[in-house]
């Protein structure tokens, strides 16, 4: 038996099973290409990261599973059932969160550029509006006043990351290296510390605004292992803000970036290490400044979703060219319209398994290609894989994050269905798209109709 993780392994016939169901049976029943999401893998990923922090942290820990990584309604329902929260960008993700039955207290509303309509919705629902800048703070106050309601808010901060100024971080996405300090202090979200302090003072004086949280989402630094330094710097600044204003947050949201092992070349720390180090840094730095330890919010996306999803495609054709190209191409019925994770530097380096014959022997180097017009429509490039045949069912692993959410319809190609599997059961949670769906918004000017 070959086991990829607890719920994904080969059976006695050498077929890949996900939660006890043969992937070839899923492809037969639901067609291909097909996303398959494992309910219990989502649950376990959620529980592990929640426990990693909750076991060591003396106040409440709220895991706001990132909606951007997977905004499926069924996936969200699983998180809600686990008692988890979510981070929503815009009205669409907020809609999914609330349709799935989320506790509004565990939902945060993100964005540097929220519309009035989105702010109204956040106030209506009582979710925490993570305000990006001073103009948005003014707008939130104005909208709350107009509605005669109170807006629960958090302010988003950007950090200088002074202690990391000299570091040059390198990974597959930044092959020439980048300074995490430069990256964090210049990106589009949040308030610099001086502007943050000013915004706290303004918010304290605003009727209709309840200032409850601080939001900081680090990107590169956490991935690169700077989570202790950034957490200490964050809470140090909050200590200064408390000294200046008397205010300290009830909720401290440290964002996401708890990456999975397949993400980069180097293995990230286990999530328990993040929990231990970050938890300790918050507790110690709060103590130093005489601050109450706040409830901790996290926004893990990839961590929750990635390993819970596979994507299944069938081999349609195979072409070898031993003369001019010296290459072999394997063509499948899916394509890179659905493999466009913009945050993964190894986006098309997913592990490929022959689902109908997991342990097939032998190997050949192939390009696994999709059916679009794009010469770059290659799902696995120059990869050494067992020899594949027409009719084989391929499973691409770790496809649960960002691939569906960033999928497009180039060449008017309808997108995959998604099935959820759970303890031997399966059901469609996103129906297969049709050409009629893709074309459903088209119209022709009347003046061109009769020509």
């Amino acid at each position: 038996m070959t086991a990829f993780h607890k719920h994904l392994k080969s059976n006695a016939k050498g077929e890949l099973e996900f939660e006890g169901i043969a992937v070839t049976d899923l492809a037969m029943q639901y067609g291909s290409p097909l996303f398959v999401l494992s309910e219990n893998t989502i649950r376990e990923n959620y529980r592990r990261i929640h426990r990693a922090f909750a076991d060591v942290y003396p106040a409440e820990v709220i895991v706001c599973a990132g909606m951007k990584g997977n905004w499926g309604l069924a996936a969200r329902r699983v998180i809600v059932d686990e008692g988890g929260g979510g981070d929503a960008f815009g009205l669409g993700e907020l809609t999914v969160a609330m349709l799935a039955g989320s506790d509004p207290r565990k939902i945060v509303m993100n964005g540097a550029n929220k519309s009035r309509e989105t702010i109204e919705a956040a106030i209506d629902m009582g979710v925490l509006n993570q305000v990006d800048n001073a103009d948005e703070l003014a707008l939130v106050g104005e909208v709350a006043a107009a509605m005669g309601k109170t807006a629960r808010i958090s302010l988003r901060i950007r950090l200088p990351l002074k202690s990391l100024a000299e570091v040059n971080y390198v990974d597959a996405r930044y092959p020439e290296g980048i300074s995490p300090s430069y990256w964090e202090r210049t990106f589009k979200f949040g308030l610099a510390p001086d502007a943050y302090l000013a915004a706290v003072r303004i918010a304290q004086g605003m009727a209709g605004v309840s200032l409850e949280g601080c939001h900081y989402h680090g990107g590169i630094p956490r991935r690169a292992g700077f989570y202790r330094e950034e957490t200490e710097e964050l809470v140090e600044i909050l200590g200064e803000v408390k000294a200046a204003t008397g205010w300290s947050p009830e909720y401290l949201n440290i964002g996401g970036g708890f990456v999975s092992e397949r993400y980069g070349a180097e293995a990230p720390p286990p999530v328990e290490e993040y929990g231990r180090v970050i938890g300790r840094a918050i507790v110690d730095t709060c103590a130093k400044h005489g601050m109450k330890v706040p409830a901790l919010m996290l926004e893990p996306g990839r961590y929750c979703w990635e390993s819970a999803g596979i994507w299944v495609a069938q081999v349609n054709a195979k072409k070898a060219d031993p003369t001019l190209a010296n290459k072999t191409w394997v063509y499948v019925d899916g394509n890179t319209n659905e493999m466009r994770d913009p945050f993964d530097p190894r986006c098309s380096v997913h592990h490929v398994v022959i689902a109908n014959d997991v342990d097939r022997e032998g190997s050949e180097v192939v390009d696994v290609c999709g059916g679009t017009c794009n010469a770059g429509d290659i799902l696995a490039k120059a990869r050494e894989l067992p020899p594949m045949q027409i009719g084989d069912t391929l499973a691409f692993l770790d496809m649960g994050a960002y691939n569906e959410s960033f999928a497009c319809q180039s060449n008017v190609i309808p997108r995959s269905a998604t099935v959820m599997v759970s303890n031997g059961r399966s059901t469609v949670v996103r129906r297969r798209e049709t050409v009629a769906d893709v074309l459903s918004r088209e119209a022709v000017p009347t003046w061109l109709m009769a020509r």
Copy 2:
């Protein structure tokens, strides 16, 4: 007056007009973000490239305007009205082509990986099926036999580009350089010359298959100015095929790649130069081999669409950080979900015009950002632009190709509407998407509903 091209210029009030309609009026009437397509710019782009070849070429010239660049039904209707054809990838684009009233003789069906269903459709419609490989040829024969119909086919060839073996081509997309010869001979489409010859022989002997064309689509070389060399090599090989088999094509399809000026750092040749050089190379090489000059098919995509489309967004917010980042951000109501042209090395370097005040004086360096979660959601990065204010209407020029067709819905953000303008009239040709549209395929497993 500032004129960007014939139909896009400022009016007496300093507002940007597209085909005589103020862009601010379009944003007011139809909302934003908004794509705006100019019917007459499409017509003129089509006519210019058609004439560039037809004026110098002694046989029929069929311009198969690339559907992948813009698959809108209204845009297609304009091409049909001009007497143009199209290249379709898959059933979806074929559907658009035929719904728009195309002449099937001018439609080609592309793809390395066509489903049986797609092949059946191409046979039903009588369009030219551009067969990629020997297995597909066998499949086409089998499908045609089962249907009792004749399949019109073309065979796609890949070229060695021997005379370009030593060239190292560099542009913004290939900053380290690439060999056009390596690129062409190893990419996923088509048959190497020896396999091509073998396939011609097989096709000649197949009942139910009418071998009518040869298809070659060059990517990098044409862009880099190797169109004479590749055309000569292509027709030389066809001469050898004729000598060996007696067959020569009725239709010679040389693909697309006739790029616009904004595409790369260096200005490409005018399209008339392509026409003159390529036309001459075909005629001369055919004469050398005693071949009849075939009808010429072209598949220009970007050339037809790019300059015909602008994208309009409103400034929602502005944030300056003179202390930590030393930057200014301008936030608009659109985002890079709709600026994801995968073929343009300068994808987010579109010219930005303040549509309500085209000639505004002064300048500042800003990042123009969208509203998604992605730190890379920057529509114009570190660009020197006139000082912008909340409420300004921005037009991003040259957005008519590949941006709509590759658009995604990340963060559950509905996509723009598209309006067509024509001689002072305007109408919606793609209605604005809603959150309900984006979520229309979602479902929750029954076992999770009652928890």
